[in-house]
């Protein structure tokens, strides 16, 4: 039998004894595959403290993964909207459309972060570390998610309230410079997640990282009959609340197609 031509990947020379790779070599191949996926190493600051999946931000994405995407994805499967199962985060039709269009979805947990020149106002200012968003990704949308609980100790504020989110421009000498972002009405009897559209604010922070001073939440009775109240007084869970109910933001992104290269 004559030898056939030179093959790139499927010509098996019968005179060569092919060997089975060792466990170490197999592990090296696995690491190469993970490197290709952009997962070359564990994230920073997690060696001694494994991150917690029970917090609201990872739980939200796990909910999307299990109920909207599912395992065994197929490019020509039905859109997410038609195969979504009810999860605990009350995904709206707009959310499902964004999930369908997204290549990357990121969540950012709220932090107690001090910004120079900005006075700390407990419960009213939320700050998010969005520095990991690659600038080349195209943002489809972003939302702030707040949990509204009906179980509030010594509740004084009943009825309907308006929660308004502002982007903090500056706070100096007690004077706030704020830019309106979005608002939502909530009644004291409604338990669950509230969403506010913060796309413009997130877009600004991605393009101007030094201008990220967080969001300011202003809560008023819906009829404006009284002064501003603290968010926790109407049942809004802050970043010191239950881990699975803490505020976070979600960003939906379309990939630019540029494959990121990470240093190993």
């Amino acid at each position: 039998e004559r030898m056939s031509g030179l093959y790139v990947d499927n010509g098996f020379d019968q005179t060569v004894v092919h060997r089975v790779v060792s466990q170490r070599e197999k592990r090296e191949v696995e690491h190469e595959i993970l490197n290709l996926l952009g997962l070359p190493d564990r994230p920073r600051n997690t060696i001694n403290r494994p991150p917690q999946v029970k917090r609201s931000a990872p739980k939200f994405l796990l909910d999307i993964y299990k109920n909207a995407l599912g395992e065994g994805e197929d490019e020509d499967e039905k859109p997410v909207m038609h195969r979504h199962k009810a999860g605990e985060f009350d995904l709206s039709g707009q959310d499902l459309r964004a999930i369908d269009q997204s290549d990357v979805i990121m969540t950012f947990a709220a932090h107690n972060h001090h910004v120079p020149g900005v006075r700390h106002e407990r419960g009213k200012r939320l700050w998010f570390d969005v520095s990991d968003i690659p600038p080349e990704e195209y943002m489809i949308g972003a939302e702030l998610r707040l949990y509204h609980s009906t179980h509030v100790k010594n509740r004084k504020n009943h009825g309907s309230h308006t929660i308004t989110a502002y982007r903090v421009l500056n706070i100096e000498n007690g004077t706030r410079e704020l830019q309106y972002v979005d608002a939502i009405n909530v009644t004291s009897s409604k338990e669950g997640w509230l969403t506010l559209n913060i796309s413009k604010a997130l877009d600004h922070w991605v393009n101007n990282p030094d201008g990220n001073r967080g969001l300011y939440l202003s809560v008023h009775p819906a009829d404006r009959s009284a002064h501003e109240v603290r968010p926790e007084d109407i049942g809004i869970v802050g970043f010191r609340g239950d881990p699975d109910k803490q505020p976070f933001i979600v960003g939906y992104f379309k990939s630019s197609g540029v494959r990121e290269s990470k240093v190993r």
Binding site: S4, Y7, N10, D13, V17, H18, L39, P43, Y65, E73
Partner: protein, 135 residues
């Protein structure tokens, strides 16, 4: 690879189980035809499950084997692959056989921590082989 294999063969002829290797086992003709194969990368085995939240591992399917005709019933081949095979039969030393390669690919989504609090769900297009065929 040839040198390495010859050296190995001389020094330690019994270090591999040739019967379990589809390329050296004469009875494994069927397993050498073009078909889908799996290399499962277990995030759990790598002890990365505390930061790669889902899935537990990645089915790194790939296509491997020879494109010999007649093709088995469930293997796709392009018209060009058939032409390529015929030309290969005429000039086996000059023209290679058709290539065993993916015919259908799908995406996977991976959910992992960016740091101790921020999380990302990323879709990787064309990462999972659904079927193989001869091109």
């Amino acid at each position: 690879q040839k040198r390495d294999a010859k050296r190995k063969k001389k020094s330690d002829a019994l270090s591999y189980d040739y019967r379990n290797n589809p390329y050296t086992d004469p009875g494994a003709q069927y397993s050498r035809t073009c078909k889908i194969q799996t290399l499962y990368v277990s995030f759990r085995d790598l002890q990365w499950q505390d930061w790669i939240i889902a899935p537990d591992g990645y089915d790194a399917y790939y296509c491997s084997g020879e494109c010999n005709f007649p093709l088995n019933a469930h293997m796709n081949a392009t018209n060009h692959a058939i032409v390529q095979t015929l030309v290969h039969l005429v000039s086996p030393g000059k023209v290679p056989k058709p290539c065993c390669a993916p015919t259908k690919l799908s995406a996977i989504s991976v959910l992992y921590f960016l740091d101790e609090s921020n999380v990302i769900l990323k879709k990787y297009k064309n990462m999972v082989v659904k079927s193989c065929g001869c091109h």
